[in-house]
């Protein structure tokens, strides 16, 4: 497997001054391979959407990349011109947002909107555009006749599928999904996830799947990165993360989802509040809420990135770098 997207030491901030008033993403590194679903989870405000915007080159002022690199298929994103970036979108990298069933133009037939999108990417023949749109609808299992419908004639779930179809119409290699199913019912959500899982095997695209729903992510993702206060505090294969979470925050976040089976017992959730991103505490940002807080260490020194093995890393003082040899 080759790295499709490689984010290295990325820092993203919002604000006109230097350094920016708010640093939303701090020193994040993340790799996505072809055909792989990488999940990003965290509370609201942890920087997961900012990461998605930066990774797709869609970040708008006052947001900007402060440092680090985003490498797509060997090309450094920051070196691309506006035109190159425009072409990259949809053709190579597509994004689907949370309420994106509402991005469709309500007074245009869906097929026409597909045609417009493809015309902007060099598909000028009407027949060719129609053929591709129909193929895309087949992929997400929406009947083709809905290409002639207006968005309001489709249910929320179908509209969301139509938007995913639009994202796939140029067969991109990377799909960035930001809470793509949050507004939908579980049955519809499950059906969309099933399609997504089949498609990435069939078409071989890589996926960044951003959500707050960790229990969902454990099912769909191959690898999961947990974000807290702008940093990835743990990254691991989905199964391993679920079976043996390491970072205290990951453990707390998992405990925030009541289980569907087993003993019914009282859960405590995550005490405290996420930190103010404008005024982060020194040391580990999670320290004020952490049950394993070690005074003099956690509130003073930035936690080191501990590589446990080549697929697992954790950002926490509880784990010493030399532990990597033991595990």
């Amino acid at each position: 497997m080759s790295a499709l997207l490689e984010i290295r030491d990325l820092t993203v901030g919002y604000g006109w001054r230097f350094p920016p008033a708010v640093t939303a993403v701090r020193n994040v590194s993340l790799t996505v391979n072809a055909g792989e679903i990488v999940g990003v989870a965290g509370e609201s405000g942890c920087g997961k959407s900012t990461l998605a915007f930066a990774a797709t080159g869609l970040l708008d002022a006052p947001g900007r990349v402060v440092s680090g690199s985003i490498c797509y298929d060997g090309t450094e994103m920051s070196t691309l011109s506006r035109e190159e970036l425009r072409r990259l979108h949809l053709e190579s990298v597509s994004m689907v947002f949370q309420a994106s069933m509402n991005v469709l133009n309500p007074v245009m037939r869906i097929g026409a909107q597909f045609r417009d999108a493809m015309a902007a990417h060099g598909v000028s023949s009407k027949q060719e555009a129609r053929r591709r749109a129909e193929e895309a609808f087949d992929l997400v299992k929406v009947p083709r006749r809905f290409l002639d419908a207006y968005p309001h004639q489709l249910s929320g779930g179908m509209r969301q599928r139509a938007v995913i179809a639009l994202a796939l119409v140029m067969r991109p290699k990377l799909l960035v999904l930001d809470e793509p199913t949050t507004a939908l019912d579980v049955v519809v959500e499950r059906a969309i996830l099933q399609s997504l899982d089949e498609l990435r095997h069939e078409l071989g695209f890589g996926v960044i799947f951003i959500t707050h729903d960790l229990s969902l992510l454990v099912e769909i993702a191959d690898r999961i990165a947990i974000m807290y206060a702008g940093r990835i505090i743990e990254e691991a294969p989905a199964r391993e993360l679920y079976d043996h979470p390491k970072h205290p925050y990951t453990i707390a976040l998992m405990g925030a989802f009541p289980p569907l089976q087993g003993e019914r017992q009282r859960l405590s959730g995550i005490p405290g509040q996420p930190p103010d991103m404008k005024d982060l505490p020194p040391g580990c940002s999670y320290a004020p809420r952490c049950p394993h807080f070690m005074p003099g260490t956690c509130d003073v020194i930035d936690p080191p990135e501990v590589v446990i093995d080549e697929r697992r890393r954790v950002l926490c003082h509880l784990f010493q770098p030399h532990e990597s040899t033991r595990v």
Binding site: E43, S44, S155, G156, G157, M158, D185, V186, V187, V188, E189, R190, A191, L193, Q194, D197, H212, D213, L214, S215, L216, V218, E219, I220, R239, Y242, A252, L253, A256, F257, P258, P259, L260, Q261, R264, R266, L267, S268, G269, I270, P271, Q273, P274
Partner: protein
């Protein structure tokens, strides 16, 4: 906790009398212009009983009638047919102001959206004082103390610091706590919480659910917890009722309904719910993926029949009566044998 009350005509007599009894509740909305008038049957013939101190989880997809049910319970919508009894008192067909006030003192609601359900121009104190005054709960000179007590009970401490604040100064979780305090101010017997956590961040959801449970226990309240989240319903509820296209299709003890679901729709919901204990991505049957029916043109039989893998001819004709599937566990499905419980 008192024993779960089965949904039947006997609900009020068999065990301790139910606090809430709903019989044949039906709510329809008219939509469309003259000539193209259509009737949306949001709620059809719902029977339900909730015991004192019981938590009932009401689960369904969006558009299944959960919110209409809550609103009808409070007479925010006028039912087309059926009755709602609280403590044995039924609402008359055309309730007057006095009767409505009496009813709403006993039944209070917590709304889904903590951002739009608080008046932005009122201080927190003013918001909570409103029900105190409307229902004559305490004399005026004790109002402030009562508000402070309520705020403390919902975990907004120091209470004094919140009195003069406005909703925009509070986080989502704090606002929802104010919403809970406002509902408690009337000293209700039944709380109806309509998706109280779905707009909140994951980390806050549990604390709000725990708060509701603590208050429900300490005040011996009955609670109807409306949600689309099976796991959340299981966490808070003694019993769970499943709603589909405006009808209840299954009801029973939480462990039974989620552990051994008997209605195909409940099974579908259970399969579709995110469950990290699953190895790999759980799959649902393709036939069952369809969409809920159009409420303006409901099929004559079981509303789920068009999506159901097990549907028989009889399902398309008539929705079966409630059938027992276990202790306090009832299902409206032909798959459950009439004779064997």
């Amino acid at each position: 906790m008192s024993s779960p009350v089965a949904v039947s005509e006997a609900a009020g007599t068999a065990n301790a009398p139910a606090l809430l009894e709903v019989r044949g509740l039906t709510t329809s909305y008219g939509i469309g212009r003259i000539g193209r008038h259509q009737v949306v049957k949001a709620l059809t013939d719902v029977d339900l009983a909730v015991a004192r101190g019981e938590v009932l989880g009401l689960v369904g997809e969006s558009g299944s009638g959960k919110t209409t049910f809550a609103r009808t319970l409070l007479y925010l919508e006028r039912p087309t047919a059926g009755t709602v009894l609280i403590d044995g008192d039924a609402m008359p067909k055309h309730p007057n102001t006095h009767r409505l006030r009496e009813h709403r003192r006993k039944v209070q609601m917590i709304f889904q959206d903590p951002y739009s359900s608080l008046d932005p121009l009122r201080t927190i104190e003013s918001t909570i004082t409103q029900p105190l005054r409307a229902f004559d709960i305490v004399p005026r000179r004790e109002e402030r103390q009562e508000v402070e007590d309520l705020l403390a009970q919902v975990g907004l401490t120091p209470a004094k610091g919140f009195l003069t604040r406005y909703p925009h100064e509070l986080s989502g979780g704090q606002r929802q706590r104010v919403g809970i305090a406002r509902a408690l101010a009337a000293r209700p017997k039944l709380l109806v919480a309509d998706e109280p956590t779905s707009m909140l961040d994951v980390s806050i959801r549990l604390t709000i659910m725990n708060l509701l449970l603590d208050l429900q226990r300490s005040r011996e309240l009955s609670l109807i917890f409306i949600t689309h989240d099976l796991a959340a319903a299981r966490y808070v509820s003694d019993r769970i009722a499943i709603m589909y296209a405006g009808r209840l299709v299954e009801i029973g003890p939480s462990a039974e309904v989620l552990g051994k679901p008997r209605h195909p729709y409940t099974m579908l919901l259970r399969e579709a719910a995110p469950d990290p204990t699953q190895r790999g991505l759980a799959r649902i049957h393709a036939e069952e993926r369809g969409e809920p029916p159009d409420l303006t043109a409901l099929p004559p039989g079981c509303p789920f029949a068009p999506r159901c893998t097990f549907a028989r001819d009889e399902c398309l004709v008539e929705l079966p009566e409630w059938r027992p599937a276990g202790e306090g566990h009832n299902v409206r499905c032909v798959l459950v044998d009439k004779a064997t419980p």
